[in-house]
């Protein structure tokens, strides 16, 4: 039990810091799944002496979650699903439940189930986020009243209190989910018949398509862009799959098509 508590504590600390980054402070985008998930995997892997495995799992899950939630924007009143907490928790649950299994398929099933679970947790995280924001609204009222009484220390105190509320929320949420969630998840995946469940790997392979579709809907806006898009896919289907080809071509496309767009305008 002691080990589980320690793991939950590590996950809670990471979750608290990462969730602060998502809207409350800094916004270095450590909270993006592509960073948050490998970070969690790295620390948990270090604790379990399986650093490489943790980091790799984090990278895979991070990429998938990044794609699922790529269009969620923190604009104005819009509170997006908590992608940061979802990534931390899915890696934590998937790694802690699966890292004692030897076979690739068993681990994969654990991480896929954790991934699905964490999407729901991300939605729950959004409700918690809204709750903290309502708490902040009360803090705001309190600060206004204090300021009328001439207490000039109130604004910075209230502001710090708001930040502390965000951290506490994420810390407790991650701690409880990890502490209570790992064992049930392990039992659940054990009760699935592993040999029959390579279908989960098919799911993981297809899931990126959703994110690509969302990103394409964001970026392909005009008819010209659509033609570029289809042509590009055709080219890259035939070309060898190498990022040293893809990255320069992308930069070239950005430069070239913007130039010609200016000429047309």
């Amino acid at each position: 039990m002691g080990e589980g508590l320690w793991a939950a504590f590590i996950v809670a600390l990471i979750g608290g810091v990462v969730d602060l980054d998502s809207t409350a402070t800094w916004q270095f985008m450590v909270s993006q799944p592509i960073v948050a998930a490998p970070l969690t995997g790295l620390f948990l892997g270090l604790a379990a002496n399986q650093m490489g495995a943790g980091l790799k799992l984090g990278l895979i899950i991070g990429a998938i979650l990044q794609l699922v939630w790529i269009e969620q924007l923190p604009l104005g009143m819009n509170v997006p699903p908590d992608a940061a907490l979802a990534s931390v928790l899915s890696v934590a649950l998937g790694f802690l439940a699966g890292h004692r299994y030897d076979s690739y398929v068993e681990r994969e099933v654990c991480s896929t189930v954790a991934l699905l679970l964490s999407v729901a947790l991300g939605l729950l995280g959004r409700s918690l986020d809204m709750f903290v924001r309502r708490v902040n609204t009360s803090i705001n009222h309190w600060v206004e009243r204090q300021l009328e009484d001439g207490k000039t220390w109130a604004p910075s105190f209230g502001h710090t209190l708001g930040g502390a509320a965000t951290f506490t929320k994420a810390f407790l949420f991650c701690f409880l989910v990890t502490w209570l969630g790992v064992e049930p998840l392990r039992y659940f995946t054990q009760s699935l018949n592993f040999a029959q469940n390579t279908g989960f790997i098919v799911i993981q392979g297809l899931l990126p398509a959703v994110g690509f579709a969302v990103l394409a809907s964001m970026c392909v806006l005009s008819r010209r862009e659509f033609r570029v898009f289809l042509g590009g896919i055709a080219i890259f289907t035939v070309l060898p799959a190498s990022i040293w080809l893809a990255l320069p071509l992308a930069l070239l496309a950005g430069w070239l098509f913007t130039r010609t767009a200016d000429g047309a305008a």
Binding site: M29, R134, A213
Partner: protein, 263 residues
Amino acid sequence: MGQLDRWLLLQVAFRSFFLQASWNYKGMMNMGFLYAIQPGLDRIHPEGPAREAAYARHLEYFNTNPYFASIVMGVTLELEERLARGEIAEDIIHDTKEGLMTACAAIGDGFFWGAWRPFVAAIALTLAFNNYLATPIIFLILYNIPHLYFRFQGVFWGYRLGTDVIRLLRRFQIQRARLALRYATVALLCYLIPNHVNLHTPFLITYLPMEWFFLGEKLVQGIGATMLVGLAALAYRAKIDVLMISFLLMLSALVLYHWGILI
């Protein structure tokens, strides 16, 4: 020119990192804004009613792009100085702040959320799908170059130029940069879609001769992935929730796997 030195403006820039810590439904980033410019206000206004009035003034509604907020902070501090010297009236600060925060929100959100983050995310995904373990670090460094540039320079620009800062922003040609980034993101997508949606069917192994297998596999992957992405995009355009689409995709993947069409 002003009474705020470089050190104090840097302090404001550092405090602007905590802009949204107390984000609330009434004033949004108001407390964070006040918290950030507090050292400046303390320097400008002597302790007493003037300072309290300044605090109360900046507890009003404030919402903009967090990275561009430091520009508004710089401009506000410059105006506060002029107010303390008696050159302008209070409502000028209010109006300027409101106009500027709307402009900065439009420019900043459009650039950072609409173009820069998807582009950097696409690069990171390209690297991640190729198992580059340094992906998170590359993502962070690349993403934060413009972020930190605007955040730290913004305070100084705003304080030095006042409301003329808008003219400076125009020099960056953000619209053009957005278009270029969008095309680059599309190009990266063109690479990602045929290569990193894993779609394998057993028919190829059974029916194709070995020398045609790899080409066939690539073509099937490319065409199948494009169709899949197209379907998902149509569903997304029809305002079906992303999670719902993912769920439907998983369900159909399991069914197709069960029938032996996909492996």
